[in-house]
Structures are given as structure tokens and as C-alpha cells.
């Protein structure tokens, strides 16, 4: 079964245009749905392949809206920091991908399978590598706890009854059908508790990585000052609890556990983007 699933997915990825046949399409959707359900319900057969197929589609759409910042050194740098942080999680063997996308918005996005993007607007606020690590670790938290997969199911974006396949979107039409329109999924609000959970994971992963634990809290303190009606941060505020609430919750969870735990901030190593 497992082999078959993989085989179908590979085929689907390779030959979206050749493929219109219904039985195959249905089979793909079925296996994808099962995969999502199994992952959400904690079933045994977790399939990283399926998760990656979904994540890849979301990431490709997001990049369709906002391309990468054209700075290879920056992109390599964020992948090094992100991969190191992700390596301290229980999903250290994922193929993690990180990127800085060219938007003045202040935000970060995660898609299933380990695709993580930070906007240039958020990146420019950062003052140290530890802050970057904290932000990326928050997104890693969403991925390892599969928060977006849960949304896929809850929001009934998985519409298997529909025969309507979105045309001309590129990538994989069948998977696109599964995730709704474009990269809409990344703009959906997660459960508030999912955000608080990702914050708690972030300070721990940063600490495990040898960084100062307070990178993410520092960033939260900074973005807490933005006016709510500031267009650059509107989406973040709309989809996340207010930074003050997050800091309060994080403060309670961290308590005294981080006392005496020193870490590196690496201000000097932070790769600076051109203004």
C-alpha cells in the first residue's frame, strides 16, 4: 500500500498534463486524504512524502505571489540557520527549506513538509542570528506539530466530492484541489493555542541549538509596537494573537526554567540585507 501510494504520487508529480483519468485521480485524492487524516488523528502510517507534496504546492504558490529576494548569500545563510535549528527537532531528517521572500510585509510562513519563508520586512527587523533562529524555530514548531495539516481537515478544504479541478494553476492540479486557492492556506489563522505552542517550541529549539532563548521574545516585543492598522503587519495581526498576549503566555511557560542557561546571540554574524 505504501509503495503504491508513493508510486502514484510520483506519477502525479511527473505528469500532471498527461493525466486526466478519473480512477487515478480519485485514488490519489483518497490516499492523500487518508494520509492527512492519519497524521491528524495520530494514525500509524505517517507519510512524509504526502506531506511534502502538499507543502511543495503551497510553497510554489506562495513564491508565485512573492518571489525570493535575489541574494544567494542571504538564502544560503537562512537555510544554514534554519536547518541547524530544525535539526534539533524530532523531525531532523526532513528536507527543510527556508527562504526570504521579497515583501515589505512583516510575516513568516510555514507549509507542511518543511517549507518555511520569512519576508524581507520581518528579516530587516532582526538584530541577531538568535532572533532569526527564534523566528524560524516558531515556524519549525508549526511544521513538526502539523498545525497546517489540521487546518486542511478542519476547514474542509479537502473537498473530495468536487470534480472541479482548478485549471492553469500549474504544479499539481490534484493537490491544488486539496489545498484550496493558491497559497490561501498560509494566510489562514491557526488555532491560538497552536501559535502559543509554536512559541514554546521556538524558545526550546533555539536553546537546544546553542542560541540565546530570548531571540523570539525580543522580536515579539518589537512587533508589538506596530500599529494595528499598519498595512505591513495587518495580516500577521489578523492571523496571530497579539504579541503582548504571546509574550505573557510565553513568560508563564518559561518561568525560571531558562535561568542560568546562556546562549549565543551572534549579532555580528547576522547577514544584513540591503535596505
Amino acid at each position: 500500500m505504501k509503495c503504491k501510494t508513493l508510486w502514484i504520487l510520483v506519477l502525479a508529480l511527473c505528469s500532471t498534463t498527461v493525466w486526466g483519468a478519473n480512477p487515478f485521480e480519485q485514488e490519489l485524492l483518497k490516499t492523500l486524504k487518508q494520509g492527512v487524516q492519519q497524521q491528524v488523528t495520530g494514525g500509524t502510517a505517517t507519510s512524509i512524502e504526502e506531506e511534502t507534496v502538499i507543502g511543495r504546492q503551497v510553497a510554489g504558490n506562495l513564491l508565485g505571489a512573492v518571489p525570493l529576494v535575489k541574494d544567494a548569500k542571504l538564502q544560503k545563510y537562512i537555510n544554514n540557520v534554519g536547518r541547524w535549528v530544525a535539526s534539533q527537532s524530532e523531525r531532523s531528517n526532513f528536507e527543510w527549506r527556508f527562504g526570504v521572500i521579497d515583501s515589505n510585509d512583516v510575516n513568516a510562513f510555514a507549509a507542511p513538509g518543511g517549507y518555511i519563508f520569512v519576508t524581507r520586512g520581518l528579516y530587516r527587523l532582526l538584530q541577531s542570528e538568535a532572533e532569526l533562529a527564534g523566528v524560524l524555530a516558531h515556524e519549525v514548531g508549526h511544521v513538526i506539530r502539523q498545525h497546517h495539516l489540521k487546518i486542511l481537515q478542519q476547514s474542509k478544504l479537502i473537498d473530495l466530492g468536487s470534480k472541479v479541478v482548478t485549471k492553469n494553476v500549474g504544479g499539481n492540479d490534484k493537490v491544488q484541489n486539496l489545498i484550496g486557492s493558491g497559497a490561501e492556506i498560509v494566510s489562514r489563522s491557526l488555532d491560538k493555542d497552536a501559535e502559543f505552542e509554536a512559541d514554546r517550541i521556538a524558545v526550546v529549539l533555539a536553546t537546544r541549538s546553542g542560541y540565546d532563548a530570548f531571540g523570539l521574545p525580543t522580536v515579539l516585543q518589537q512587533i508589538g509596537h506596530f500599529a494595528k492598522d499598519d498595512g505591513d503587519i495587518a495580516l500577521l495581526f489578523k492571523t496571530h494573537p497579539h504579541p503582548d498576549d504571546r509574550l505573557g503566555k510565553l513568560g508563564s511557560a518559561m518561568g525560571e526554567r531558562f535561568d542560568g542557561v546562556k546562549g549565543k546571540t551572534l549579532e555580528k554574524r547576522l547577514y544584513r540585507v540591503k535596505p
Binding site: 510553497a59 505571489a65 540557520v81 493555542d193 508589538g224 505591513d232
Partner: protein
């Protein structure tokens, strides 16, 4: 332009002092300690709403000055006042001093602003850009090497339970 350059020069000159200009408010009552650690002597108790000037930072601690005295308090007990972004000269100087001139309202360098749901909804899959993004991926050993060059050492630390 001239003004900006002057502002920048000023910011550079004042960069040491600018940090001290940051202020904040106590989110909750907490001890103000003589040193930045738990067992240090308590100088005084800060009450929720107390105004403080932030002087320094050390890990999870902020050195602050309040009407009640000077000392160290847990960073997460303090809400910083609006000094990073918004209107007014102070934020402009701060933004310049931290290399963030041009952020936000000043200049839009990319032409892409205010990412919204509609934009994301309408997004079209971009295979070439995705492949480019994937080409920058770091392997686990590569990242470990990078970490070692920054003297980062991995260490165990348990996940945190959700607060009650």
C-alpha cells in the same frame, strides 16, 4: 537627503545613548534584582504599570531604571514602549541607528506591499522559483558545520508544558 544624512550621523554618534532612551512598562508585578539572576538580591518590587527606562540587556533580563530604583528585571515582565516604528523623530533615529532606515513607510523598495489574502488566494504556482528556493537547501551536516563555525553547541532541553 541632507537631513537624512545628518540624522544618520547623529544616530551613529548617539547610538550608545539611544539604547538608554528606550522605555517600557511593567506588565506584571515582579522583583527588581541587583544582578541578572534569580537568586540575586531583590532591590524593590515593581508593580504592574510602573514605567521604566531600559538601560541594558543580558539574556532574558533587562537592566532598568524606575522611580523606585535601578536593577534587573525579567525581560518578559516588561512591555517596551513604542520606539521602533511609528511617527516621530525618535523612531526615525532608532530605525536609522539599527540599519532599518527605509523600513515601512519611508521607501517601498520592492513594490510589493501589504501582502493580503486575496493576493495569496490568486497566487499561481511558480515552479522555477520553487526550484530556486530548493537549490539553496542546506544538508544536516552542512548546517552542523555552519553552527560549529559560530561555536554553537547543541544541548538537550525539554519541551515546555502549556501553562495552566
Amino acid at each position: 537627503m541632507k537631513t537624512i544624512r545628518w540624522g544618520f550621523t547623529l544616530a551613529v554618534l548617539l547610538s550608545g545613548a539611544l539604547h538608554a532612551a528606550e522605555s517600557g512598562t511593567a506588565l506584571k508585578s515582579d522583583d527588581l534584582k541587583a544582578e541578572p539572576f534569580r537568586d540575586a538580591k531583590t532591590v524593590v518590587m515593581l508593580a504592574a504599570g510602573d514605567k521604566v527606562d531600559i538601560l541594558n540587556k543580558d539574556g532574558g533580563w533587562l537592566q532598568v531604571k524606575s522611580a523606585k530604583g535601578k536593577g534587573w528585571v525579567r525581560m518578559l515582565s516588561i512591555r517596551k514602549s513604542d520606539a521602533r516604528k511609528g511617527s516621530g523623530n525618535a523612531s526615525g533615529l532608532l530605525a536609522l541607528s539599527s540599519g532599518r532606515a527605509g523600513t515601512g513607510k519611508v521607501v517601498a523598495t520592492t513594490g510589493i506591499r501589504g501582502l493580503n489574502e486575496e493576493e495569496l488566494k490568486a497566487a499561481k504556482f511558480n515552479e522555477a522559483e520553487l526550484k530556486r528556493a530548493e537549490s539553496y537547501a542546506s544538508s544536516k551536516p552542512e548546517a552542523a558545520k555552519f553552527a560549529a563555525s559560530g561555536k554553537l553547541v547543541a544541548r538537550p532541553f525539554d519541551y515546555l508544558p502549556a501553562p495552566k
